[in-house]
């Protein structure tokens, strides 16, 4: 067991991409995150697990400042990407969000064509070059393993393709902006098993180019796709370790209870 962990450890990139330090988050008077500190390496997949309402999605959304949109949210502590504090005043949140792609629980393609969905991020950046946009769209769709299925219907409405395809389209849309981080909030929970498998395989290949953080309710999924796993409960980070260790030999009894299904 110990040896196995060592071998995995060697693969992990020593460079930290994402970090939070003593993060507290409040929805009005209610505290949703308590003193969360975590460091996530570049080009790894980190899974956040825990029961509903434990703060894992809230925490995920701190990394692209999506919580800013909710009224009454107060954040204390630091969130860093590439060692830069993203909640500092001088950070341009719109520029910053381009570096951090997000995929949501329910596929949410725009009511536009498949092509325009992927091109959206480029267009809002003021990109005018037609050939550059076309190349980037194709590239993003290929990376999202969707190109072969939609290459003949790029100008069809994105609402007309299946849910699994829509979710991969949303991934393509996110990576077309060339972020370095991908945040995924239960990306497969609304999909059928086959589509889920495809998304999981995709996450595996995307790891080479992106740092991926994924929130999931499905523990088998966390075990299959992630390098490291963080277990949250009641807004606290209970345990954060290599996935293998979390699922085979967790150090905290709370984690073990959750993993084994005795709770939650």
């Amino acid at each position: 067991m110990v040896q196995k962990n060592k071998s995995v450890k060697k693969e992990l990139n020593p460079e930290y991409k994402l970090e939070s330090r003593n993060l507290n988050l409040f929805y009005g008077p209610k505290q949703a995150l308590r003193d969360v500190s975590i460091k996530m390496s570049a080009n790894t997949v980190t899974a956040f697990i825990g029961p509903s309402g434990c703060g894992k999605s809230t925490f995920l959304r701190c990394f692209n400042r999506m919580n800013d949109l909710i009224e009454g949210v107060r954040i204390e502590g630091d969130v860093l990407i590439d060692n830069v504090d993203i909640y500092k005043n001088e950070i341009d949140v719109y520029e910053y969000r381009k570096k951090v792609g997000m995929v949501f629980q329910k596929p949410n393609p725009f009511p536009k064509s498949i092509f325009e969905n992927v091109a959206f991020g480029l267009r809002i950046n003021g990109e005018k070059s037609k050939s550059y946009i076309e190349d980037t769209v194709e590239d993003a769709l290929k990376q999202a393993a969707l190109w072969n299925e939609v290459k003949d219907s790029l100008y069809k409405s994105a609402m007309a393709i299946s849910g699994g395809q829509q979710q991969r389209l949303c991934i393509a849309r996110a990576i077309a902006v060339k972020p370095s981080v991908l945040l995924m909030d239960e990306p497969a929970s609304a999909l059928d098993p086959l589509s889920t498998t495809k998304i999981e395989e995709l996450i595996h290949t995307l790891k080479d180019n992106f740092t991926i953080v994924i929130v999931t309710h499905n523990m088998q999924q966390a075990a299959r796709i992630s390098d490291k796993t963080a277990y949250f409960y009641m807004g606290e980070l209970i345990e954060y370790d290599l996935t293998e260790k979390i699922f085979t030999n967790p150090s905290r009894i709370e984690t073990e209870n959750y993993i084994t299904g005795r709770f939650g």
Partner: protein, 287 residues
């Protein structure tokens, strides 16, 4: 012991269904009677000269040329004034405004304004635009008054259309680094275009039919010229109809019926366009 109900549930269901059908039939029947009556009376009068003649003392020579021109000019200025303000106000209230008590208070009051009797807008327009602003019996004064009248409708329908756009789309756009305005401009407005358009057209057909406020702000019954600028005097089709119906000669009653047919056609066409756009857009966005 349970008592047996007087009517069985099934019977109740049937009674209600028949009652609902009777109500619908009654409403449709009344409308049909009205339309048939108007058509029989007015159809004979509808010919090309009816559209091109000026108003006259002789009913058979009277036409709606100036009234139509006045109505189109009035609508044009009304829309130029009311659309930008109404739509932008709707966007602001729904997307930017904070949702506090003041906002709710404003929201309720705008909805109330949509229900205020139109003659009250007429009186307001008379005092503010005709007298204080010194616009007199001009098209501009009439347009400003009608703008006030339809603005609440446009604001409310714009808000409703924008509200119907799922939040997940806004989050997706913002997550890609779009600014608030980019999100509204490129995602929210296109997705709500059908709804906004419907509101605009319905408010336009409301403005077309309004008579009371125009009488108050001084649309004239007899205008032997077509307006050339916003400060000219004018008449409008509903005013013309209103005037004709109050004449004793039978010929003018026929003219009024013909005018009503034209006005109804205008309204039907506008409403038809609204329904078409709504269906087309809902199909396209498939929200």
């Amino acid at each position: 012991m349970t008592r047996k109900p007087l009517f069985s549930v099934k019977l109740k269901d049937r009674i209600f269904r028949i009652y609902a059908m009777a109500c619908t039939a009654f409403a449709l029947l009344m409308l049909a009677i009205l339309l048939i009556d108007i058509s029989i009376k007015g159809a004979t009068r509808i010919n090309w000269s009816f559209f091109t003649n000026l108003p006259s003392r002789h009913p058979e020579e009277s036409g709606i040329y100036t009234a139509l021109a006045g109505m189109v000019a009035l609508l044009l200025f009304t829309l130029i004034i009311a659309l930008p303000i109404g739509i932008l106000a709707g966007i602001y209230l729904q997307e930017y405004g904070t949702k506090n008590r003041l906002a709710r208070f404003i929201e309720i009051n705008i909805s109330n304004l949509a229900g205020v009797p139109s003659v009250i807008y007429g009186i307001l327009g008379l005092q503010v635009f005709v007298r204080m602003a010194g616009l007199g019996n001009s098209i501009l004064a009439g347009s400003l008054t009608l703008s006030l009248l339809i603005m609440p409708i446009i604001i409310v329908s714009t808000r409703e259309a924008i509200k119907a756009v799922p939040d997940s789309l806004r989050q997706a756009a913002l997550g890609l680094g779009a600014t608030k305005w980019q999100t509204i401009r490129r995602i929210v407005l296109p997705a709500s275009f059908g709804g906004i358009m419907t509101g605009i057209i319905l408010s336009t057909s409301r403005a077309i039919g309004e008579t009371a406020p125009l009488i108050v702000v001084g649309a004239l019954a007899y205008v032997p010229f077509i307006p050339e600028g916003p400060l000219d005097q004018y008449t409008s089709l509903p005013i013309q109809i209103f005037n004709w119906t109050s004449r004793p000669q039978a010929g003018f009653i026929i003219n009024a019926a013909a005018g009503i047919i034209v006005l109804l056609l205008f309204t039907f066409i506008l409403n038809g366009i609204a329904i078409y756009l709504r269906n087309k857009w809902y199909k396209k966005t498939n929200l």
